[in-house]
C-alpha cells in the first residue's frame, strides 16, 4: 500500500510542479523562494512510518530539484513545534504540545497580569486552552522571546477580550502584521496568525501591539512555515486527495485561484489547506464534513447563477461527486503551507515587447530617394517617413525667421537687431552653428531650458499644505537646475544627483553641498493638510513616486498605489517596493499650521564644522527659549503686580521683549537647503491595501520595478536605497530614461514630442510618430555622454528643424497634425517668453542673480488655513524667477497657461482666451513696457518710417514691409490726431501714438508666434 502510494504521489507531484514551473518560471526565480509544496502533516503523529514516508517524499522532491533546470527551487523544511508560552500561568498542554509557563526564562514581558476565569469564551474551547486564554498580560504589550536560533518561524498570538472591544495593530519584530484588529465582545478570543518571520540578529522574536489595550494570553511559535491547521490525515485520505482532488483542483481551478494565477479571481486561493478553508470574498470555500454549506460544491454544481465554476465548462458528475466525497471525509488536505497571491504576475518577456520597454535599438539610417535634401541623419529618418507617404519637406526658412526661432528656442528671448544683422552678414557655411554656440554659452540658456525641467518636477516656492508655507531655501534647487543646464551636466549625473546627491559626497566641498541641494527634487514633493500627528506622509511619498515615474521613466507609477496598474506592467508590490525607499528618507518639514517651525533642513556646512555649528544652533535656541520664558514670566508678574510696582515691571518687560526679539532676529548661523537625507530607520514598507495606510498587508522588500528585473537592495545595505534606485533607473537595461529625455528635448525644439505624451510612455500614452528616429536620438544621447547641449546641436543643425513653417498644400491636407514634420510647426510663445520679451524690449529686464524671494521673516510666520500665505512679488527679473505658489496660481502665469505647480506639467497648453486678450489690452505691465519700448523707438530716429522699421526689427526680427509702413504711418497720424483732440501737445501726441502703436504690435500674432 505504502509503496504504490509513494510512486503515485511522486508522479503526481512531478506533473504538478512541472506544470507550475513552465507557467511561472520567471516569477519563481524572481521571488527565489517558491518551492515544491511538500506534502506533510506537521503537527502530530510522528510515527516511524509517517516519518519515513515524509523522508521518501522529501527525497523525491530532492530528486526533482536536482533534475529540474530551475535554479531557485528548494525543498521546504517541514514546520515543527518550537515553543509555546502561557504568558500568565503555569506550563500547559495545547494541541498536544507542551507550553512553557510564565516562569520561563526564555522571554521578557513586563506587562501587567490579569485573570478572569469567570468569563465565558466565545467560541468555546477545551478547558486547558480556555484557562490559558483567560489569564493574560496587558499594559506595555510587548513580549520578547529569547534564544531563538536563526531561521524562519511561524508565530501565533492568543488574544482575548474581557470587557469592551479594543482595536489594535500587532507587530512582529517591528513590522506590522495585523492592522486594526478588533478584539470583539466580552469573552471573544482569537488565535491570530500565522505570521511568518525570522529571528532577529540578537536571536529574538518580539511581539508588540499599538493602539487600544490588547490582552496577550499566549504565544505559539513554529519553526518553518506552518498554516496552523492541526489535522491528521490517514494514508487512505492522502491517497484519495493526491489521486482525485489535487489533480482536479490543479487542472480546473489553479489557473484563476492559485498563488501562480496571473490575476487572482474572487480573492480565493484553492492551492493550500488554509486558504481553501478561509475562502475568498464570499466566505469559506470548504467546510470540512459539511457538503451543503461548502461554497466550492455550490459553485461546481452550478446551483447559483452568479457563481458557476469552472466558468467554461461544468465538471463531470464523477468529478463533482469526488469533491463531495472528499468534503464528507473531512476535506483531508496535506497542503500545510498557506499560500499567498502576490498580485499581478508580470510576464516580463511579454511586457518588454511593448515598444517603450524594448531595448533601444540603434536603427540603421534609412535610404531616401531625394538624397540632396538631407543634411543630417535626422533628416534621413524624417524624409524617409515623408517619402513613404508621398510627402515632401517645406523649403528652408529664411535667415531672419531662423534666428528669431532659434533665439527664443534656446534662451527664450528675442534676438537683438544687431545679432540679426551680424548673422545676416555672416555668409560662412557655419554661420548658423556659430549662433547656436553663442546662445548655448549664454547664461540665459539655463534659465530657459531649466524652466522646462522645473515644469516637469512641478517646482514651487511653497509647500502646498493647507496654509501653503513658504520655503525660502528652495530657490537653491531652482538655481541648481539652471546652473546644471548651463554647465551641461551629463543627464545621468543630473538624475543621480537629484535622487541621491546627498549620498554621493563630492570631490570638493562645493560639489558635495551642490549635490545636497539637488535632492531638493525630492524635498519639493507636495505637503498636505494642517495636521501634525496624523500628517499624511503617504500622500507626500505618493507625490514623490508619481513625479519620479513621470519625470525619469515616463511611467504612471502612482496608478499602482491602490491596485496593480491596470494597463502597464507595474504591480502594487512594485509601488511599495519604491515606497519603502522614500519611507526610509527624511523629508524636511517646511512648517504647517499646527507646527510652524522649519526642521530637518540640511545644513550647508562642511563636515568638520557641522558639529560645532549644530551645537551653536542648539545653544542659540536654548538662549531664545530662556529669553522668551523671561518675557512670559514678566507678563505673569505684571498681571499680579500692585499699582506701585506696575511701571517698573512694565519697563522690565519692555526690555526683555526687546532682547528676545533682537535675539530672534539674528541671522541664522548657517545656510540650509530644502533637501532630503536618509532617515534614522531604513526599512521596507508594507503594502497599503487600496492605498489606505491604516490597512496594511505584506511587507515588501525595497526593490525596483519587476519589469526591469526587480532588483533588491544588497543584504548589507545600510541606507534608504536611493543611491541604488538611481543606479537601477539609469542601468543600461532600462531604455526609458534615454528615450524619455531625448523625447523631451525634441519636444521643446518642435513644440511636440515624437511621443506626444512626454510623461506617459505606457499603454495609455501615445505611440511615437517616428519610433526609429526616437531610438536614434536615444542612442546618440547615451553614446554622447548624456550631453543635452550636444542633442540641441544635433537637432537644430538638421534641415528638418530649419524648414519654413509654411507647408505645401498637399502636406497640409494629408498630414493635418504635421506628424511627419513637412514644415516647422508654428509655435506660440509660452508665458515666460511673452513677459520676458516685453521686459527685454523695454530695456528693463533685470539679469542680476536672483537669489531668494522677499518672503516675510520666518519668526513672523503665522499662516493657517484661515489665513494662508499668499503673495505676489513684483520683479523685473526673468519669469523663471517669479515666486510661484503651490496652491495659488501666479496671476500672469495662470492666464497664459503657465506650468501647474501642483502636478507635473509635461507640455504647456496653448489656450486662447479673452482673459489673455484683456491682459494685453489693459494690464498696467503691458502699458508700461509699451511706453519704454516707444521711448527706445522714438530715440532711434526722427522719421516714422525708420522708426516703424526699427519697431519691426525689435519685435519681429525683420524690417516692415512697404504696406506695413504705410498702414503704420496712417495709424500714427490718426492716433496723434485723436490724442491731440483730447488736448495733448504735438510732442505728447506723437509719443503716446507710438505707445499705442507698440501696444498694438505686442498684441499681434506675429509677436507671440514663431514661424
Amino acid at each position: 500500500m505504502a509503496s504504490s502510494c509513494y510512486s503515485r504521489r511522486v508522479g503526481s507531484g512531478f506533473e504538478r510542479s512541472n506544470a507550475g514551473r513552465s507557467r511561472t518560471h520567471d516569477s519563481s526565480n524572481r521571488r527565489g523562494v517558491r518551492g515544491i509544496r511538500i506534502l506533510a502533516n506537521p503537527a502530530t503523529d510522528f510515527s516511524m512510518e509517517r516519518h519515513s514516508e515524509i523522508l521518501v517524499r522529501l527525497l523525491a522532491a530532492f530528486v526533482l530539484v536536482l533534475t529540474s533546470h530551475t535554479a531557485a527551487l528548494g525543498a521546504e523544511e517541514l514546520p515543527t513545534f518550537f515553543r509555546g508560552l502561557n504568558l500568565n500561568g503555569p506550563s500547559v498542554h495545547i494541541d498536544g504540545n507542551v507550553w512553557d509557563g510564565s516562569n520561563s526564562k526564555q522571554y521578557v514581558c513586563k506587562d501587567n497580569s490579569f485573570e478572569n476565569q469567570a468569563v465565558t469564551l466565545i467560541p468555546p474551547t477545551d478547558p486547558e486552552r480556555a484557562t490559558m486564554i483567560r489569564s493574560s498580560r496587558y499594559g506595555g504589550n510587548r513580549v520578547e522571546l529569547n534564544e531563538v536560533l536563526p531561521g524562519e518561524y511561524t508565530v501565533f498570538l492568543y488574544v482575548w477580550e474581557d470587557n469592551n472591544a479594543e482595536t489594535y495593530s500587532v507587530f512582529i519584530n517591528g513590522q506590522q502584521v495585523t492592522a486594526n484588529h478588533n478584539s470583539g465582545v466580552t469573552g471573544h478570543w482569537d488565535r491570530l496568525g500565522p505570521w511568518y518571520t525570522k529571528a532577529t540578529k540578537d536571536q529574538k522574536i518580539v511581539v508588540t501591539s499599538q493602539g487600544g489595550t490588547a490582552n496577550f494570553s499566549g504565544v505559539e511559535v513554529w519553526k518553518g512555515k506552518y498554516d496552523g491547521f492541526n489535522t491528521s490525515i490517514s494514508d487512505e485520505e492522502l491517497a484519495f486527495f493526491e489521486k482525485r482532488i489535487r489533480p482536479l483542483l490543479a487542472n480546473k481551478c489553479y489557473e484563476c485561484h492559485s498563488a501562480d494565477s496571473k490575476e487572482l479571481q474572487g480573492e480565493l486561493l484553492v492551492d493550500s489547506r488554509a486558504t481553501l478553508r478561509r475562502g475568498g470574498a464570499k466566505g469559506p470555500a470548504v467546510i470540512p464534513s459539511d457538503v451543503e454549506h461548502s461554497l466550492l460544491i455550490k459553485a461546481v454544481r452550478y446551483d447559483d447563477s452568479d457563481m458557476q465554476m469552472p466558468p467554461d465548462e461544468k465538471l463531470s458528475e464523477a468529478e463533482i461527486s469526488d469533491l463531495e466525497e472528499w468534503i464528507r471525509m473531512g476535506a483531508p488536505d496535506p497542503r500545510s503551507h498557506a499560500t499567498k497571491h502576490f498580485g499581478k504576475q508580470i510576464d516580463i518577456a511579454a511586457a518588454r515587447e511593448f515598444w517603450s520597454l524594448k531595448p533601444i535599438s540603434n536603427p540603421q539610417v534609412p535610404q531616401v530617394r531625394d538624397t540632396a535634401w538631407p543634411a543630417t541623419d535626422i533628416d534621413r529618418f524624417i524624409l524617409a517617413e515623408q517619402e513613404s507617404k508621398n510627402l515632401s519637406p517645406a523649403p528652408d526658412a529664411d535667415k531672419r525667421v531662423l534666428i528669431r526661432r532659434l533665439t527664443y528656442d534656446l534662451i527664450g528671448l528675442p534676438p537683438a537687431p544687431e545679432e540679426v544683422a551680424s548673422f545676416l552678414a555672416d555668409e560662412s557655411s557655419d554661420a548658423f552653428a556659430h549662433v547656436v554656440d553663442r546662445l548655448l554659452d549664454s547664461p540665459r540658456y539655463g534659465e530657459r531650458w531649466g524652466r522646462h525641467w522645473l515644469d516637469v518636477v512641478r517646482y514651487a516656492d511653497t509647500a502646498g499644505d493647507n496654509s501653503d508655507y513658504p520655503i525660502p531655501q528652495i530657490h537653491r534647487y531652482r538655481d541648481w537646475v539652471i546652473a546644471a543646464f548651463n554647465r551641461d551636466l551629463p543627464y545621468d549625473e543630473f538624475v543621480r544627483d537629484q535622487i541621491a546627491g546627498d549620498l554621493l559626497g563630492g570631490a570638493t566641498e562645493v560639489e558635495r553641498q551642490q549635490r545636497i541641494v539637488a535632492t531638493g527634487y525630492i524635498a519639493n514633493s507636495r505637503r498636505f493638510g494642517s495636521r501634525v500627528d496624523d500628517y499624511p506622509q503617504h500622500l507626500t511619498i505618493e507625490d514623490t513616486i508619481d513625479n519620479l515615474g513621470r519625470c525619469f521613466l515616463g511611467m504612471t507609477l502612482s496608478c499602482a498605489r491602490c491596485h496593480d496598474h491596470k494597463f502597464d506592467p507595474i504591480t502594487n508590490r512594485d509601488y511599495y517596493g519604491l515606497y519603502g525607499i522614500f519611507a526610509s528618507t527624511r523629508y524636511p518639514w517646511p512648517g504647517i499650521e499646527l507646527d510652524k517651525q522649519q526642521r530637518d533642513f540640511v545644513p550647508l556646512v562642511s563636515a568638520d564644522q557641522q558639529n560645532e555649528l549644530t551645537q551653536a544652533a542648539t545653544a542659540h535656541q536654548k538662549e531664545q527659549s530662556r529669553l522668551d520664558q523671561e518675557v512670559t514670566d514678566l507678563q505673569a508678574t505684571l498681571k499680579k503686580a500692585g499699582d506701585a510696582e506696575k511701571e517698573n515691571v512694565k519697563q522690565k518687560l519692555k526690555e526683555a521683549e526687546k532682547l528676545a526679539d533682537k535675539h530672534r532676529r539674528q541671522p541664522p548661523l548657517f545656510e540650509t537647503a530644502y533637501a532630503v537625507a536618509d532617515a534614522d530607520n531604513h526599512q521596507d514598507a508594507a503594502v497599503q491595501l487600496k492605498g489606505d495606510p491604516a490597512h496594511t498587508g505584506d511587507i515588501v522588500p525595497r526593490h525596483f520595478l519587476t519589469v526591469f528585473g526587480g532588483q533588491e537592495l544588497p543584504a548589507d545595505c545600510n541606507n534608504s536605497g536611493r543611491l541604488q534606485l538611481a543606479d537601477w533607473i539609469l542601468s543600461d537595461d532600462n531604455p526609458l530614461p534615454a528615450r524619455v529625455m531625448a523625447n523631451r528635448i525634441w519636444q521643446h525644439h518642435f513644440g511636440q514630442g515624437l511621443v506626444p505624451t512626454p510623461n506617459d510612455f505606457g499603454k495609455q500614452g501615445k505611440r511615437p510618430t517616428n519610433p526609429a528616429l526616437l531610438d536614434y536620438l536615444a542612442t546618440q544621447f547615451r553614446s554622447g555622454g548624456w550631453s543635452i547641449k550636444s542633442m540641441h546641436r544635433l537637432i537644430i543643425l538638421s534641415r528638418t528643424w530649419q524648414q519654413s513653417s509654411v507647408r505645401q498644400p498637399q502636406a497640409i491636407t494629408e498630414d493635418p497634425s504635421n506628424d511627419t514634420l513637412t514644415g516647422f510647426p508654428r509655435l506660440r510663445l509660452d508665458a515666460e517668453s511673452i513677459r520676458d520679451s516685453m521686459l527685454a524690449l523695454g530695456g528693463n529686464l533685470d539679469l542680476s542673480p536672483a537669489g531668494p524671494h522677499p518672503f516675510p521673516e520666518q519668526h513672523t510666520w503665522d499662516f493657517t488655513q484661515h489665513k494662508p500665505f499668499k503673495a505676489v512679488y513684483d520683479t523685473n527679473r526673468r519669469s523663471v524667477y517669479l515666486m510661484t505658489q503651490r496652491i495659488q496660481r501666479h496671476p500672469f502665469l495662470a492666464i497664459f497657461d503657465g506650468a501647474d505647480p501642483s502636478t507635473s506639467t509635461a507640455a504647456r497648453l496653448n489656450s486662447t482666451t479673452p482673459l489673455q486678450a484683456l491682459y494685453l489690452l489693459n494690464d498696467q505691465f503691458v502699458h508700461e513696457q509699451s511706453r519704454l519700448v516707444a521711448e527706445r523707438i522714438l530715440a532711434h530716429s526722427d522719421e516714422n518710417n525708420v522708426r516703424l522699421n526699427f519697431a519691426y526689427e525689435l519685435l519681429f526680427a525683420r524690417p516692415a514691409a512697404g504696406e506695413e509702413v504705410t498702414v503704420g504711418q496712417k495709424f500714427l497720424i490718426d492716433a496723434a490726431a485723436l490724442l491731440k483732440n483730447t488736448g495733448l501737445s504735438d510732442e505728447q501726441s506723437a509719443q503716446e501714438s507710438w505707445q499705442a502703436c507698440v501696444r498694438s504690435l505686442f498684441r499681434l500674432n506675429e509677436f507671440v508666434y514663431l514661424d
Binding site: P868, T912, L915, N922, T966, R999
Partner: protein, 464 residues
Amino acid sequence: MPTPFPFRRREILRSLVGGSLLMPGLLSELLADSQGKNEADPLSPKEPHFPAKAKRVIFVFSNGGVSHMDTFDYKPELFKADGKKTGSGGGLSNQQRVLLKPLWEFKPGGKCGTLVSDLFPNLRECMDDICVIKSMNGNDNEHYNATLGMHTGSFFFSRPSIGSWVSYGLGTVNQNLPSFIALSPQMPYAGTQIFNNDFLPAYHQGVRVIGGKEPIADLARRTPQAGLQELELGLADVLNNRHLQARDGDTNLSARIRSFETAFHMQADAPEAFDVAQESKETLAMYGLEPGKSEGFGWQCLVARRLAERGVRFIELVDGSSSNNWDQHGNMAEHADHAKGIDKPLAGLLTDLKNRGMLDDTLVVWTTEFGRTPGVDGEKGRGHHSACFSSWLAGAGVKGGMTYGSTDEIGATVAEDGVHVHDFHATILHLLGIDHTRLTYRHAGRDYRLTDVHGRVVKACIRS
C-alpha cells in the same frame, strides 16, 4: 450698449487700408462679418448627454461649516438632551461627549411644511421650491480639504472645479462673458484652487469677481480714450489678417484674432452685467440691497441673476471667507450674524428667479463644506462634522417641498439615504443633462471624472 465695435471697426479699417488700395484682397476679407466664425470654439454650446432640466447653475457656498441641527435638520431629541453626556463614536470624538441643544426654534415653512429654524425666516417661505438633503456627508473634517472636496470631488489633490467641468461639458451661450464666474469678494478656504480648471483647458477657468470698480482683472479699458483703443485694435486687425493670409488661415491664429474682439466686448458687457444700478427699488429690496450699494451677499445674489440672464453657465457665490465665516467653535450664537447675511438675499434670489420664469431652468444649489457636531466645542460652540450635514437644491428639475435622507436622533450620523459629496455632484450634473460617468477628460494617462469612481444620482430629488 456702448458703440458696437463692428461698426467702428469697419470705419477704422477703411481709414487704415481702404484709401491706399494696398491690400485689396485683405480688405474685403476684413470687412466681412467676423461673427459666426466659431468653428471648433471650445466654449461654443454643446449638447448634453440627455435632455437637461437645468440650463445653468447658481452654486452658493457658505464657508466655515454650517450647523445642520441649527438650520435645516430638526432634532427634537437634541433639545431634550442638552448637557447630557454621550459616548464617543458615530462621528463624535471623545472631546465632544456633552451635547449642546440648538439655539433656535424650528417652524414649518411653505405649504409643504418643511421645518426650518428661525435662522432663516425668509428662506423658510421658499421651502415649496426647495429640496433639503439632510444626509450629506464627506471625507474630511478640515475646512481646506472639505472645501476642496465639495468643489472638485478630491479632498487632497488639485482637480478641476465643478464649474470648470460644467463649462467643459456644456460650453456657454454668451461668448462675451466667461462661462464660469465665481463671485467671491473674499478668498475661501483652499483659495483659487476651488475655481480652477486644473488640467482642463484654461477656457474653463473660473473667473473670480471681487466686485467694486474692476470686478475682473484688466477689464477696465486703460487707454483713456475709447477711440484710441479701437484704433489700436484696428491696426492689429489689419496686420494680423495680413499675417494670417500668408499662413493658410491657421485656425489658431484666427481664434486669437477673435479673442481680442471678445475681450473688447467684455470690457463693455461685463461691467454692465455687474452693475445693479439699473435694477428697480423693489428688486433691490427683495435682495435686501440698499440702493447705491454694490457689495455684500445681496449684491452677489442679484448679480448672479443678471449673469444667469446673460447666459453664464455656472455662477458660484462664495459666502464669507476663510477667516470670517460660519466656523463657530466657541459660540454658536454667532451663527445668527452669518444667517442674517444670506437669508434675505437667497430668498430674494429664488423669488426673483421665479417671478421671471427663470427658476424653471436655473438650478440653485446651497451647500457648505461640512456640518457641526451635536456635542459642544469650546464654551458654547460646535466642532467640525463631515459625517453628516445639510444642503439644498432648488429650481430646474428639483422636486421642491421635500426633504431627503435623515440623520440619527442627535444629528451625529446619517440614518438613511446618505448623500456623499460625489452623489451630490452626480445629481447636479444629471440635472444639467450630463451623465457623470461619461463626462471625462484624458489627463496623464487616464480618464478623470468629477466623481472619480463614485457618485449616485439622487433621483428622488428630481422631478420626473
